[in-house]
């Protein structure tokens, strides 16, 4: 089938194999982005000496680590899963020579969808808890944390942005595979 139109439909023919280079590139990009996001958040640690208001005022070193917050633990776990899935699906799509065996293509599309949902929920959770950390919540007396631990918060924000881009890449992959299915059968 001719796959000329569409800016994502680059097809490279190697002998009898048709491997979509854009799909391979996107999967590798998703792998690297989720890996970097997981690592950024996972090694995030900041220690600061905070004056605790006891009598007399004590200077206590406080540490902020990612596992103090359950939402960040969920974020790291989901990004690790997405990273592993990206590399496995990359290997599988290369090994199956880009052909559309119905079972494998449908399974990879389904898992892509699951990864998209998981990554979005992890980004949402991190964003929600991070927003509490940045702004605090006056109604329930939750004090903001990011004015003290600024490097911690900035690194978390960077990891969040990378993960959001990673989930957008999974969305693009779904578009490409849907187009591929459509073109093969129509």
């Amino acid at each position: 089938m001719d796959t000329q139109h569409g800016n994502h439909g680059e097809v490279k023919e190697v002998g009898k194999r048709k491997v979509s280079m854009s799909e391979v590139g996107l999967r590798f990009l998703a792998f690297s982005l989720t890996l970097v996001a997981a690592v950024l958040v996972g090694v995030d640690k900041q220690t600061k000496i905070v004056a605790v208001s006891t009598l007399p005022p004590l200077n206590v070193p406080l540490t902020a680590k990612f596992h103090h917050f359950s939402a960040f633990v969920y974020f790291v776990v989901v990004n690790a899963i997405a990273c592993a899935y990206a590399i496995i699906s990359l290997v599988l799509t290369l090994a199956s020579k880009g052909g559309n065996k119905g079972g494998l293509a449908l399974m990879i599309t389904t898992l892509d969808l699951v990864m998209l949902a998981l990554l979005s929920s992890a980004s949402g959770a991190t964003g929600g808890v991070g927003l509490i950390g940045i702004r605090g919540n006056s109604h329930v007396e939750w004090k903001k944390v990011c004015n003290v631990f600024d490097k911690f918060c900035h690194q978390m924000l960077a990891g969040l942005v990378l993960s959001v881009v990673g989930s957008a890449i999974f969305l693009l992959l779904l578009v490409i595979s849907a187009r591929k299915l459509q073109k093969t059968h129509y």
Binding site: L106, A117, S121, A125, G128, S167
Partner: protein
């Protein structure tokens, strides 16, 4: 014709209408099978609308007011302070309500469109482009380009951009809303000893029950949306003309 197996009332008359116009494939089994997909499509979208509606309503009606009595030593008096917990207190819950409302709106509109497509298999409904707000760009183009042919067949070819732009994006939005509300609710339930964020659900029990139920229903809505996407992709791959 294998049309008597199915309990859809318009089905026995539809094949006659379809035989008059040039049929897309002219096969009996795909005709029967695509009816399954159409019915499942309508049912799933209706369930999605119901789930989104329930989640939004439960979250919005979650306001709880508690009266706290504080004793002031000088001058000696009792002060009654009323404090309330409502969903507007947290931006994550506001985003949750907004995202689920968008999902409910999308669901009801596409339910109507799919139901119309189910009822009129001859697909001569010129009203299709007018009903679908989100996909109107694609469908209006198709209608203009192929006004002589039937809309249903052409719609399916162009359905892929619809799938791409609408359902997966909506799944991402709804999943993010679920995650955000879940994260904040988890902090409210368990507190955070490291940052001294107090547990709130011990005090506002009814509010927390509402929030938890809304999140559970929205998880169900996300699963429904994922099933919808997989159904559409599956119907694409089975060469079924819709």
């Amino acid at each position: 014709m294998a049309s008597t197996d199915y309990a859809v009332p318009p089905e026995p008359t539809a094949p006659d209408v379809e035989k008059a116009a040039p049929p897309p494939t002219g096969d009996a089994p795909p005709h029967a099978r695509h009816d399954y997909f159409r019915v499942a499509d309508v049912v799933l979208r209706l369930l999605l609308f119901a789930a989104a509606l329930v989640a939004v309503v439960v979250m919005v009606t979650s306001k709880e007011t508690r009266t706290v009595v504080a004793q002031i030593r000088f001058p000696p008096s009792l002060v009654f302070e009323s404090d309330s917990a409502k969903f507007q207190d947290s931006p994550a819950f506001i985003y949750f309500v907004a995202a689920l409302s968008v999902a409910g709106l999308y669901a009801i509109i596409t339910t109507l469109v799919s139901f119309l497509a189910l009822l009129k298999p001859s697909c001569s409904t010129k009203l299709l482009p007018h009903f679908v707000i989100f996909d109107v760009i694609y469908r209006w183009d198709i209608y203009r380009m192929n006004s002589g042919l039937r809309i249903c067949k052409i719609d399916h070819e162009k359905q892929v951009p619809e799938i791409a732009c609408c359902m997966q994006l909506l799944l991402g939005i709804v999943a993010a809303a679920t995650g955000a509300a879940g994260g904040v609710a988890y902090v409210g339930i368990k507190g955070n000893s490291h940052t001294h964020w107090a547990k709130v659900c011990g005090v506002y029990g009814r509010f927390c029950a509402h929030v938890e139920s809304a999140i559970a229903v929205s998880i169900f809505a996300s699963i429904l949306l994922a099933n919808l996407v997989i159904l559409s992709v599956h119907s694409l791959s089975k060469k079924i003309p819709k």
